[in-house]
Symmetry: C2
Subunit: 192 residues, 2 copies
DNA sequence: TCACGGGTATACTGATCTGTATACCTCTCG
DNA sequence: CGAGAGGTATACAGATCAGTATACCCGTGA
């Protein structure tokens, strides 16, 4: 559940493959990108790609797992950088703000869920787990901050967060709006 | 902007093609479904499909346009069925509730945006327009109900709505949570 | 009567898809 | 020395992709 250190240490070629997959899958879509293109962009033979990952589905899962690892790291850093337990609850929205300022394709995990309907697909599982982790993080942070009704509050913060990231590419000011409302909700839950 | 009556009257075969496209594109994904499969499912020759729509991209746009037309109709019905101007503001959440009770693949438009990164793609435009329409509808309803700060409120309601529909397939209770919070926000904006 | 719109049937093109086969190279470590 | 891991290079299989070509059928309306 921690998505932590049980990652197999990637070989140099494996590293380049995942890097290329991260960019291409995210920018152009998973189904629209073929393994040949990824092999070419990473300067690696298709044979090597299949030796490392076995199948495209597994490579997709590796791509999402890597994204998940980095994203959790950024969120945890934002939580650690927050000044108070109350601010920590909305720290994921700060991480979201900086993410959306440089990326215009929204959430890699929501996009993956849109493209991979099959719950058995390894990539689907990674993406769904990422979302469940985030909702759980909100609940843990809300509990830590002494908020009333941490479970219900966490679901509300989670909805706001996902709505913001899902609509971020539309540039309708949803990230700031969600962030502001989230802070109001947390403040009310701490006081109330 | 109304997505109304300027729709070309579909021929019988065209009707069946769009119906099949609606089901297949939504359930399995746009890129993952080929035109041959749609032709087969609609009992139509591929020649006819191309005579009607010209290209897969155009068929995708027709699919999303049809979905948009139906969805706006359902939302407008929910608005009309609401008992008061205040209830009308959150009527789209009622439509969302009934939609997610029978569909587990989330929002066809968000899914389309996830699969079609190119803003020039005709399907991308239809999906983006649908989202802008919804945000505008919230603002119009909020204004009608005499809410304070209707523009900011509309963006908040929009974020909640999109977060709910984006995470609905995860079954984390987000639709009910967003709906409840939306009503609280509207009530506060009417009173305040 | 006859032209035309809507549709069927079948075959095809050229590209691209995931995945595999075969053969060779090079470095490290026991 | 020798084995194995990591990788390259090239070619291939079989399926599927979007889209086109050719030829025919049938109903309606001028």
């Amino acid at each position: 559940m921690d998505s932590g250190s049980d990652a197999p240490p990637l070989t140099p070629a494996g590293r380049r493959i995942v890097d290329a997959a991260e960019e291409l899958f995210y920018e152009r879509g998973i189904t629209a990108v073929g393994v040949d293109l990824i092999a070419e962009h990473s300067g690696v033979t298709k044979r090597t790609l299949y030796n490392r990952f076995g199948s495209k589905d597994n490579l997709v899962a590796a791509y999402l797992t890597e994204r998940d690892r980095r994203w959790r790291s950024e969120v945890r850093a934002a939580v650690a950088a927050s000044g108070s337990a109350e601010d920590a609850v909305t720290a994921p929205f700060e991480a979201l703000r900086s993410w959306t300022s440089t990326h215009t394709r929204g959430c890699a995990f929501l996009n993956a869920l849109a493209e991979l309907p099959d719950p058995q697909h390894p990539g689907h599982r990674v993406a769904a787990d990422q979302k469940r982790w985030l909702r759980g993080l909100f609940e843990a942070l809300a509990t830590e901050a002494g908020c009333h009704g941490p479970a219900a509050l966490a679901t509300r913060l989670f909805v706001l967060h996902e709505g913001a990231v899902a609509t971020a590419p539309l540039s309708l000011g949803t990230v700031a709006a969600a962030s502001d409302l989230a802070r109001e909700l947390v403040r009310a839950a701490v006081r109330g």
